[in-house]
């Protein structure tokens, strides 16, 4: 238990350090912009205005709102203070809506879509990979190239393909959105049904893309484990093959948890772009509209929220991994 507590403490410290660095980067990077964001935005807002003093007025208002007239360090502390209060500023494109308000209405959609999709894709991929490693022969010969090919279809490509096939050509799924456009979110059966039918395509496109990569990884991991000495020894002790396959599957699966932790950032990135294709009302679409409208506070907030989400998922996976794999505990004793 002592080893585990040490492990937990170390991971927690890393989580906090990374979080601080992420927040700093999120603050600093946009401020390294060569052009003054405020004047760029003012230019946009003041289009068609001829009154110079009015333009000046707008500029001053935004300068005050951003605090760009203050020194960098002071700005940073205001930024952090606001962050703690959950205040992420005001959106430009949806003025005067608060950014936190936009984010909170989008984040639920993203989590509800991506978390199950990535988990299902991971499980299915591992299952297929283990099967391919165990059966080998023809099954493997067919499955491996397909998995390799699938894992190389970009998430947005899979999304477009599914969308065109199922929604445009065969018309068995809605074209996009989180629910039918003529509805107002509520808890009626009709609304839930609409949400579920809109959920299918984005969900499966993410699942399909993640299956391939996981299957390929799991296959080589399982082949490696099947050739391990403990498999031979267990066989010669008379243990049944089925039990041994259980050992192999478990031991090959555990590193896949770390693999998931390492690739979750990339996976979420791909899935966010897939959201755009389906106009799914999540963070991906929010970011897209923010970029299109040059809505600077919204971009900054979305990236921060996504980073924090990824950090939390990675942290949780690390902790879970430490629990289920005794090898981690042993490594802690060694260290």
């Amino acid at each position: 238990m002592k080893g585990y507590r040490k492990y937990f403490g170390k991971k927690l410290a890393w989580f906090l350090i990374t979080l601080v660095v992420a927040v700093i980067l999120n603050f600093v990077l946009p401020r390294l912009m060569p052009a003054d964001p405020v004047s760029a935005i003012t230019g946009k807002m003041a289009q068609g205005m001829t009154d110079a003093s009015a333009v000046q007025e707008i500029y001053k208002r935004y300068e005050a709102e951003f605090g760009t007239n203050k020194p960098m360090i002071e700005q940073f502390f205001i930024f952090v203070k606001n962050l703690f209060r959950g205040d992420l500023g005001t959106s430009f494109s949806q003025y005067p809506r608060k950014v936190s308000n936009i984010i909170s209405s989008a984040i639920g959609w993203t989590i509800a879509l991506q978390l199950p999709a990535i988990i299902v894709g991971w499980l299915l991929g591992n299952l297929l990979g283990a099967l391919a490693a165990y059966i080998r022969k023809g099954f493997d010969k067919v499955l491996l190239p397909i998995s390799l090919f699938l894992s190389n279809v970009p998430a947005f490509g899979m999304a477009v393909t599914l969308l065109v096939l199922f929604a445009v050509n065969w018309k068995i799924a809605p074209i996009g959105g989180g629910y039918a456009f003529d509805m107002i979110p509520n808890f009626s059966w009709r609304f839930v049904k609409s949400v579920i039918s809109h959920y299918q395509l984005p969900f499966w496109s993410i699942v399909l893309v993640s299956i391939g990569g996981q299957a390929v990884g799991m296959r080589s991991m399982s082949i490696y484990e099947l050739n391990a000495d403990y498999v031979k020894y267990a066989r010669f002790l008379g243990i049944k093959d089925r039990k041994i396959v259980g050992y192999v599957f478990r031991n090959a699966m555990l590193p896949q948890v770390t693999g998931l932790a390492l690739s979750i950032g990339t996976m979420i990135g791909g899935a966010l772009v897939a959201e755009i294709i389906f106009s799914y009302p999540g963070l991906g679409s929010t970011m897209y509209s923010a970029v299109t409208a040059a809505d600077y506070p919204l971009i900054s907030a979305t990236t921060l929220i996504i980073t924090i989400m990824v950090l939390i998922v990675t942290f949780v996976l690390d902790i879970v991994y430490g629990f289920i794999d005794p090898r981690v505990k042993a490594a802690q004793f060694d260290a």
Partner: protein, 358 residues
């Protein structure tokens, strides 16, 4: 007259390579071990000694295939049995195995007592888990192993401890014959001693009835086993008591093997140190005649064409050669006499091959 625990008659097994070539790694091997006795098997890397160990279990999976021969354990012939029968009623109970790489022999993510449970349940599905745990505890106590080890994962144990735990697990069902395949090669000297002592204890306490000990470290065999058998290219070339084999080897290969041992005695530095020149034959295409002929410096032309007979001499010792015992001993006597006259002359031209590990 004691009981015969293991008798092997003409056992032949082969490997099938990726390119569908047959490699007869064990070729008509016969041997016999009596109750309470131990047999050492020595040979260079790749001579088939480890394959022999696997073949003796009577349980084959690719790339190893059974061809012919009988394996009789305590009067029961296991070579004709179906695989699942062998798995359930022979492995672990009649014959057990300690693998070469015991460091990695245990599933790293399974607790030791859970693994013992798996082993016992595989043979007796109705066994009570609590009783198994008590039994394992008792056995660990008897063998002087720390009881905490039972509740640990393999990764948490040290190298020497892992090896001893593996021995305890292999013998948990009191097998009649134990095959130890280089159980101590990867260990430091202290752990090595402990393992050897433990294996001896096993015999003394009656957890096992007979033992086969495979190694390339010949001095070890002299200390551990009653008899020694030397293998070359899938065949047995000589068998005798440990003492005879070390001090009076008859087959040219055995002699070469014994001569290449480094013994930390006075004068070793100056004494001749012979390595056997050449490499073992390719078993995909074994030579027609004596398999050692190419490397044998006493070989006559006939050796290259004729299959060598297995000859028996002096109280049951056997060897496989075209020459008689007297002929060979005469040659050796002359050689030793010559060597004494020119002690500094080195005859070997290669490195000391036999002291290197697998």
């Amino acid at each position: 007259m004691s009981k015969t625990m293991l008798e092997v008659k003409g056992l032949t097994t082969k490997y099938v390579t990726r390119f569908r070539e047959d490699v007869y790694a064990v070729d008509h091997v016969s041997l016999k071990i009596e109750q309470g006795k131990s047999l050492g098997i020595a040979g260079e890397s790749g001579c088939g000694k480890s394959t022999l160990a696997l073949s003796l279990m009577g349980y084959y999976f690719p790339p190893l295939h059974y061809m012919s021969g009988d394996i009789i354990i305590d009067g029961k012939n296991i070579s004709g049995m179906n695989p699942d029968d062998v798995r359930k009623n022979v492995l672990g109970t009649e014959i057990a195995y300690i693998p070469q790489a015991a460091m990695n022999a245990l599933n790293p993510t399974r607790k030791i007592h859970k693994f013992i449970e798996d082993v016992i349940l595989a043979h007796d599905p109705k066994a009570n888990k609590k009783e198994i745990y008590e039994m394992a505890k008792g056995r660990f106590q008897e063998l002087g192993l720390p009881l905490e080890a039972l509740d640990k994962h393999a990764v948490e144990l040290s190298g020497g401890m892992k090896q001893r735990v593996v021995i305890a697990i292999s013998t948990i069902l009191k097998p009649k014959v134990l095959i130890a395949d280089e159980p101590s090669s990867a260990l430091d000297v202290t752990s090595q001693k402990m393992v050897i002592k433990m294996l001896r204890d096993m015999m003394d306490k009656g957890f096992i009835q007979a033992m086969i000990f495979i190694t390339h470290e010949l001095p070890l065999l002299y200390n551990v086993t009653d008899d020694i058998m030397v293998m070359y290219a899938g065949q047995i070339v000589e068998r005798g008591s440990a003492k005879q084999m070390v001090f009076d080897p008859v087959h040219p290969y055995s002699r070469g093997l014994m001569n290449s041992i480094l013994v930390p005695e006075e004068g070793t530095r100056d004494a001749k140190l012979t390595a056997i020149p050449g490499t073992p034959p390719n078993l995909k295409r074994p030579p027609a005649g004596c398999r050692f002929a190419e490397r044998c410096r006493y070989a006559k032309p006939a050796c290259f064409y004729n299959q060598m007979p297995v000859l028996e001499f002096e109280d049951g010792r056997t060897y496989r050669c075209g020459m008689t015992v007297d002929e060979l001993r005469e040659i050796y006597r002359k050689e030793d006499a010559e060597a004494e006259q020119a002690p500094a002359a080195s005859e070997g031209d290669g490195p000391v091959r036999l002291t290197k590990g697998v």
